[in-house]
């Protein structure tokens, strides 16, 4: 072995020819080796096809698959209450949103805009994990193509997907994740309607915080 640690030369090149192994007769005529290789390939021809003709046949992912994140549209409306948790949990800061309030709406808070920059998204699934409303879920879309950078910023028109189309994933979350997290974590329909209006009712007036403020404003006028 080379003891020269300064430059451990690849000693090989010049010595290689002398160290080479002698070939046996069968190896020297090469034919058996060639047929062995061909036999292997021939066997593979009768195996089931492993590949997929992609654009024609498409891969249908199982419900656990984490494709692009989408917003759930429930009765023509997003479920999202613009709490901002997903934006906070997103490691590459792909999500941006602006919350607004609407007192006619049973859930009041909604995002005026909600954008996910698909060039930044790393499909980690944290947004879905933290969402208290089951409003953002990972879909099955996996081939996203853009021709411009602006196109890659998905807004609400592109993000909203009807609940029925996401049924598989929602069912999966219900079945699988909830079973693991325990029964306290269930996404009931009513759970998705959050109103500060009905929250924190005072026992003596049976008015909620919001209603009290409204009353005070009225009186001030």
């Amino acid at each position: 072995m080379s003891e020269n640690l300064e430059i451990p030369r690849a000693n090989s090149i010049y010595k290689k020819s002398t160290e080479e192994r002698k070939l046996s007769f069968l190896e020297r005529i090469y034919l058996p080796e060639i047929f062995r290789g061909l036999w292997f390939t021939l066997k593979q021809m009768f195996q089931p096809k492993f590949t997929m003709q992609y654009p024609e046949t498409r891969f249908d992912p199982p419900p656990i698959f984490r494709g692009r994140p989408v917003l759930v549209e429930d009765n023509g409306q997003e479920r999202c209450v613009a709490c901002g948790l997903c934006a906070r949990a997103c490691p590459p800061l792909a999500i941006s949103m602006q919350a607004s309030e609407n007192s006619d709406d049973p859930k009041e808070r909604y995002p005026t805009f909600f954008e996910i920059n698909m060039l930044r998204c790393i499909y980690c699934g944290y947004c879905e994990e933290v969402c208290p409303e089951e409003a953002i879920v990972m879909s099955k879309d996996y081939d996203l193509v853009f021709s411009e950078r602006e196109e890659a910023v998905y807004d609400k028109t592109k993000l909203l997907v009807r609940k029925e189309e996401l049924k598989e994933r929602l069912d999966y979350l219900r079945e699988y994740k909830n079973r693991q997290f325990g029964s306290f974590w269930n996404f009931d329909e009513e759970n998705n309607i959050h109103s500060v209006r009905n929250r924190d009712k005072r026992w003596e007036t049976s008015l909620s915080l919001v209603e009290m403020i409204e009353q005070q404003r009225k009186e001030a006028k």
């Binding site: 300064e6 430059i7 090989s12 593979q44």
Partner: protein, 391 residues
Amino acid sequence: MFKEKGPDVTFSQPVEEADGLKTQEMIINMGPQHPSTHGVLRVELTLDGEIVTRAVPHIGYLHRCFEKHCEAMNEYPKVIPYVDRMDYVAAMNNEHGFAIAMEQLMEIELNDRVEHIRVIMAELQRIASHLLAVGTFGLDIGAFTPFLYCFSEREKILDIFEKASGARLLYNYIWIGGLMNDVPDDFKTDVSSFVKTFRPKIKELNDLLSNNKIFLVRTANVGVLPEKVAINYGISGPSLRGSGVKWDLRRDDPYSIYDRFEFDVVVGKGEVGTLGDCWDRYIVRVREMEESLKIIEQALESMPDEGDVHESIPKKIRPPAGEIYSRTETPRGELGYYVISDKSTSPYRVKARAPSFVNLSVLPAISVGAMIADMVAIIGSIDIVLGEVDR
């Protein structure tokens, strides 16, 4: 240690005159857009005819500020998707290493089911990564067929991962204190059927590639890395074991539950040439796959059916102030994470000791004197992933 001549050497002067012919050393760049550098690596080669007299790797094309990124995250779990992206062909092992470091820092005890699933995942990932390494190594040298078979086997492992985690390459599956979610119900049958079908494939691979005459000529006696040089440079993983050093963290410094399993540490023996040549490094990977299969089989047998994988995930990850260095054995070698916590929810400092980075440092030493065509074999045999070299 190997001394570089430094960039000030002028090669413009004719070096030698033989038979009236002026010969001159020449510098060429291998990469960064070279299919055999496994990513974006540029190797500056100084050639004397066809013999390499100097090789200087230039790195940094894929630098993504991993360490700084971790500090910028406001929660520890957010580091895990980035850890995946260091060594992107062995993401599970990276996650495992980081999770172990954090668990040691926070003193979290895991239940047996989590540990078993983690070990199975890590070993499957090791097989997948070695398959890729072996396949592309063959591809570099000109053997196209084994590459395809390696990939089709790897695909089966990715299918298992996909069923469990929902992603095929960057899983975000092993979390600090547990797992993202429990494995599907048919996990055990999937893995054991894979193990069963994969055993004969290793033999097939040996027939097809390992003992192929052309392959032997291209790899035996090429890029010899002597034992002492390997240790001097701090090489780890299959590249170190290829030089005949019996060092495997799974056996020598057991983490997780590796001390419960029986397996051999494979070392190169110099069967077809000098000890520590490209073929030795290659064959260590092939044989390690068999050892991984052994571990998986044992783990499947002892894996408990009961156990909550979320049991010990902390509600808020806020480790006590302190620091930790923990090391694990990834397919490429010793991966160490050094984490300093200042009692907040994000790390104060994360340092990753990436095995590929250290392994690449030996390239100048072992490629001097090699033919230019052998450079491809040498780079392929140390199996670097540039995502991890540059981080």
